[in-house]
Symmetry: C2
Subunit: 582 residues, 2 copies
Amino acid sequence: MTSPALSHRMTITDEKNPIIPEILDDDTVRIITVSGVEEIGRNMNIIETKDDILIVDAGFQFVSEGSNAPGINYILPNTQYLEERKHKIRALIITHGHLDHIGGIPFIMERIGNPPVYTQYLTSLMILKRQEEFPHLDPINMQIVKEGESFTVGKLKVRTFPVTHSIPDAMGLAVETKHGDIVVTGDIKIVTEDGKVVVEERNAWEEVGTHNNIALLCDSTNADRSGFSAPEARVFLTLDEIIRTASGRIIIGTFASQFDRLVSIIKSCEAAGKKVVMEGRSIKVNIDIAITAKLIEVKPDTFINTNDMADYPADKIVILSTGAQGEEFAALMRMATDKHKSVILNERDTLVLSSSVIPGNEIAVQKLKDNIYRRNVKVINYQGSHVHSSGHGNAGDLVWVHQTVKPRFLIPVHGHHYHLKSHMFAAIENGFPRENIAVPDNGTIIDIKNGTEMIRQKVKIPTELVMVDGFTVGVRQEVVLRDRISLSTDGMFVIIATVNSKTGKLRKSPDIISRGFVYLRENQQLLSEARVLIKRTIENNTERMNPIDLDLVKDELTDVVSGFLMQKTQKSPMVIPVLIGI
Amino acid sequence: MTSPALSHRMTITDEKNPIIPEILDDDTVRIITVSGVEEIGRNMNIIETKDDILIVDAGFQFVSEGSNAPGINYILPNTQYLEERKHKIRALIITHGHLDHIGGIPFIMERIGNPPVYTQYLTSLMILKRQEEFPHLDPINMQIVKEGESFTVGKLKVRTFPVTHSIPDAMGLAVETKHGDIVVTGDIKIVTEDGKVVVEERNAWEEVGTHNNIALLCDSTNADRSGFSAPEARVFLTLDEIIRTASGRIIIGTFASQFDRLVSIIKSCEAAGKKVVMEGRSIKVNIDIAITAKLIEVKPDTFINTNDMADYPADKIVILSTGAQGEEFAALMRMATDKHKSVILNERDTLVLSSSVIPGNEIAVQKLKDNIYRRNVKVINYQGSHVHSSGHGNAGDLVWVHQTVKPRFLIPVHGHHYHLKSHMFAAIENGFPRENIAVPDNGTIIDIKNGTEMIRQKVKIPTELVMVDGFTVGVRQEVVLRDRISLSTDGMFVIIATVNSKTGKLRKSPDIISRGFVYLRENQQLLSEARVLIKRTIENNTERMNPIDLDLVKDELTDVVSGFLMQKTQKSPMVIPVLIGI
């Protein structure tokens, strides 16, 4: 009897680990862009010297429909390089609290030896809040850094400086090495007023620029947009006006991670004498965190429960809701589809989507808008009104940073390759020497010697995708994914036949189990023909075999049946024969 | 022995056909929006009187990733209503040659009884070209309508009038009925110059407005954009300038269906003394059609073969290519990934994406851009330059049409619900009485009596999705799709056990076939535990059974194993037990 179980069709050759030269001298500083430079998400960079490794950020990447990874929850940075050098890791430094910078922490901390985490207060609260969902993990050694503070880990002094992003307590880093500093911006935009950089922003960055900066790792997310970015203050004003003037109920969908905006909305509501209803767990969690971090002091009667809304006139109510990306089960979609237990949309409501559309979510947001418009509620969004601005700087912001920080080498990070190259083109156009710009890939190793010589290693660190798939975390999901994609387009066709081990004849007509291929009820004729073909193929093959080797029959059977099904249906289901010798 | 084959898990109750009242009097005209009003794609509308049915357009819808229909090729209009009323169908009228208006023809013509097809010349060529791919079909009875011509089918006179869209030979219709006309715009934009509607446009629409128009079925695709649409002439000028001034090779990616733009590009190339290389089958086919239709006369030496490019200096070459939506195997993606046999991108190339991004294709276009930027080639696209304009009018165009045609009732069509409602809001804001606007769904039946009374029937025509899935065309793919989606996220887990029919004991350890669930090699322990659990569950269940009924065991086994796998892996593979009694 042949056993099909566990004989997976794909053979796997383990990826040979490339031999990576270690740093042997004090004059070299190594920068590794682990991930986040061929995607938006899973940001992680390494700064390494002969004795020490610092890790900057540990994000994960969300997997959207259309990204060809069905069933996968998240994609993580590949930490194999770090796992092999745990003894050198001095710190994980987190620039700010967004999931593309902190999301990977619960999955990787143990693998990298639980180093201390250095970050500012709000970020620390967000990290610890998430950690509650993983109670089996070791506690984090959390080192809270105050704004602008410095600290030393191993032989490296790290200066932090405040930066502007769409979340408070965001910071940049300057790591002091023998021949000069490595500056990491984190996610940034530059605040301008009437087209001029404001003084706080100018002071912080000019201070960085007074040092000898070897290299600048700089955000590229919006590098393909020209000029300076739109200030968030304009968004606050727009939302404030909507809140003050709306004659009915207001529903605002936004990212829960937009702390400043949430805070600003709540302040506007208080000023306008309106009550705030929070819908969606992440909004509640983050507002709790904002209050703990003293980012806002909320009057005791500002927040009301969803159930108490009926006690107030509609024009006194502002609902802050999750789900602006069209998430199927979030509060906003439930309201839009009349499935929300207490909010029924009506024509007098004003609905604001205070967010952009994350690429990959376009169809989901379209469905959300369709459903909202079914209730005859008009949507105010970023396309027609200033109700959203990005937390990332345009090319104008980035070039200003280059010119203020004055690094010798520029390494664009945070974005798809297209964004990094757009960043490079913008820098070149503004006089940055092209040969001093390195556009990295995930896993690229850049060694800088004596602060003046940039060497891009030919080898990369291991870059196989590490996926979170239910409870499984690993690199081997590629094999499983290939099967899922195949099953998802053409389904499966399992053949079960019991064969007389002596005569090679089938004991009875073979069984067929098929899912996701064709609608079986309407394809009885096809199945009958397939059964005849299966019986004939097996018996023709076994006829002159002695002894009968069913393994030899299986390949032939797979080919014959696949060809037959393709010819009849134009589909290629996964054909799996199970031959049981009795 | 139990036979699992063909026992599909889902039970299907056939959708009861609603009883639809027939039209019994001469004073009623019925409008049915079959499809295309809850999506962009598969446009089909019906105009029906007591004696006659006219069908306007027969498009299909492309299925993008992220639209939750894995493996499906296209979605068609549901023609069941028409199939049951074949005897009344007098004509299929096609407004223009885009696939969302003609794509369904090969799949539905036979079902609706092969009525004559009325359309203009270019459209007829495009329909017949596609028909060549379906050689088994009956020939089409093609009735070519010249620009502005009228014709009579059954008792209905149909006047056509020229409209502006992104393809030539586009037309609108006015169907004359007893109490007035039903006007169908087809896909339209209004040509303006310096913000004023040009005279040809004005003349055509004002003529329509001189009649007594009961209802207007009007394009809504861009109704959420304010003001007048950008004229295509601006795109021609931009492309002309790029073609004249580029100092290297130019590659232009565009929709093959943008006839006017292709023609304009070729003319610019000829004027600038440049050679044109066509890449991609659909571009070649459509330029052939354009030449046949005498839309352009091309000089004999304008086109050169890809292989002959080396004979010309780079600044004399313009490549017209398919694939601007990031299609994986199209010419542009092959160039961008160095897989094209004769075009290797280099920094001196100018690459123009003369197209918008169709929702759902964002990630594919991002990949295309990433790959192009890997070759250090900058992309000029619609976000930074006027290299594309839509063929659909903004709200400004649409309101101008309402005010010129002056219909009593307005029925927005062509778009998602959101677009139709945006159209409605724009109309209301400009004085159209709200009660005279009907925003339809797919399958909505609108009866207009005496030209003055609009009745929206409570029932709809059948609307189950009709899908093309390989060679299968039918409504029953929903069941198959549900399985595909489930298989795509969690895979499958087939259990095969041979059971002694007398004792209920397993003959040997059960076999497991699993795909798309977990990586089996690294989960041997899980599989061992599953086998033990399976054996125990079966034998515990059969212990006191007499006779042994394996069907009863299967449900219990499915539940137990599903629960076990979920608990261990956080995944829910499709568990299928096959118990073979011997």
